[in-house]
Symmetry: C2
Subunit: 321 residues, 2 copies
């Protein structure tokens, strides 16, 4: 088996195969779901590392702490569930001061409070290597709303995104607001017509290919609509700096932390709170394609951030490209 | 505030202060407890790092994976609760092969199965630095048994340990069996007479001082009884090699993953399944002391593994001393 994050996770899913009554949602979705007595608890862990997801040389401890919690809350948004409590495990560099350690936590607290997700525990370690932080969030379904998985997209569903994409590494990846409430609103609005959802952390193209793979469908994006509605101003700024097309940034940059949804819906836009969800294409029976302005269908190239590849060390880092 | 793991955790507990209805057990115990609907879910995260808790140069991926899960299951034992599911977040070194990554997981699976704790998810990452693995375990109370905290020890309670201590780094730290079932049996046997419990990971003396701190009590250990009942053969082997007294190894080595309990009980030993719990002393109103064979009381020196100290980099590592 070739070395890749995807083949490792595929292997894990088959190998670990938990009892589906005890673990209704296992390896491969944004969160796992575990049955406890009469309740289902959802849980996610998102590990961020210096030099990959942030740089301690550039970013403050508070910015890093905030991003770490926000990334895990974004998983709650992806499943349209309610965050309940967070834990943080850290490997602090030996040379960090108490003040730096405290600022890491201080960066999380306003976000934790806004989302009703108190810090309930964790594990404090130190070592002679760079900072690692793993934030775990427990969640439960919102009343009356089932968790939304990656697996339910159907041909004919619209491909929706919760906001414009690209250029996040210019700074937005440190300040984004997890779409927890907007996801809840979308789920309440569409009810059974919201078929699948995930958050976009590794680039629209790669994450769309993952959602399609989990659902056993394909998708065709509309270049015109993408250009008009889903390219972030930050993608245009990045384009001005590096010459790559803004659309290229929107498709491949990653770290957007917007949501990608499969909705049985024809509306061009859906408004929920702070988000205007845009319909940027359609799910199909197979294949990933881009419809150009002149109507031509081209294969959609899939690339984006993936951990644990053959090329390893020479690859660009994620939060720091 | 001086730099130390303890002062950081103390600060965190005060700063994060979660709603005690939502989070009945917060920062500072072996697991956090979170209320979800009608249920309480317990959760622990235990992060292990190369060069601190294991050495990839010496230990196989399977040994490391097993230890990481066992450490988190030991937290379930410490609270006398039932493991339900595990997640594992990893930062794999870029140069690791698929086979190494798979062996890390394979090392967990027999233990996971034996404890009815399937691997339900996690987060797979890679980077150019040493291996980090953070294992999260969700648990629930055993039927009819409340989770046992660190805070309930009272003067007059016996100090009990679930097995002999010391010399674990000779190899036992990779193969220990978490005392999940024995903790349940002790809790069922003693009911309200089991006042407090924790697992011994950083040395009996340091962990006893933590339990005493959490409970607001002191303790006096009996050197004679300790020598006779609670010094592991591995501690004697370590003593033969380094000349430090066996009792010194039992008090300060760490990585034992036996349990330390405060029981309102006079029995010298309590048998539960594979464990003979030994009464090695008594909780008192304050102070930590050792009663020598001749009856003299000496202060008990408190030292052991602590993360995030001033001396940092020059300190010995934990699983690799």
């Amino acid at each position: 088996m070739g070395k890749s994050e995807r083949s490792l996770v595929d292997w894990l899913r088959q190998r670990a195969g938990a009892n589906p009554f005890r673990v209704p949602i296992g390896i491969g979705d944004d969160m796992a779901a575990v049955r406890l007595g009469g309740n289902v608890v959802l849980v996610t862990a998102d590990m961020l590392m210096d030099g990959v997801d942030f740089r301690t040389a550039e970013h403050t401890p508070a910015q890093i702490g905030r991003k770490a919690l926000a990334a895990s809350l974004s998983d709650c948004a992806a499943m349209a569930v309610r965050p309940i409590a967070a834990l943080a495990s850290v490997a602090l560099p030996d040379e960090w001061s108490m003040e730096q350690a405290r600022q890491l936590v201080e960066g999380m607290l306003p976000l934790a409070e806004r989302h009703g997700c108190p810090l309930a525990g964790g594990d404090t370690n130190s070592w002679s290597h760079p900072l690692v932080i793993d934030v775990i969030v427990l969640a439960q379904p919102w009343p009356g709303l089932a968790p939304v998985r990656r697996t339910g997209a159907r041909p004919g569903d619209g491909v929706y995104v919760s906001g414009p994409l690209g250029g996040s590494l210019g700074g937005r990846h440190l300040t984004f607001e997890p779409r927890v409430l907007e996801a809840r609103q979308l789920a309440a609005r569409l009810t059974e017509n919201l078929h699948a959802m995930m958050d976009i952390s590794d680039g629209l193209a790669l994450d769309l290919s993952r959602l399609c793979g989990a659902s056993g469908v394909g998708a065709t994006l509309d270049a015109n609509t993408l250009e008009r509605t889903a390219v972030h101003a930050d993608a245009r700024a990045a384009s001005a700096a590096d010459g790559r097309a803004p659309l290229d940034h929107a498709l491949y940059d990653g770290e957007d932390f917007e949501l990608l949804a499969a909705c049985c819906c024809e509306d061009e836009t859906i408004e929920t709170g702070a988000c205007q969800w845009q319909r940027i294409g359609e799910f199909t029976s197979s294949g990933l394609a881009m419809r150009r302005a002149d109507g031509r269908l081209e294969p959609l190239e899939v690339r984006g951030w993936e951990h644990f590849r053959e090329e390893g060390p020479s690859s660009p880092s994620r939060g720091t490209r």
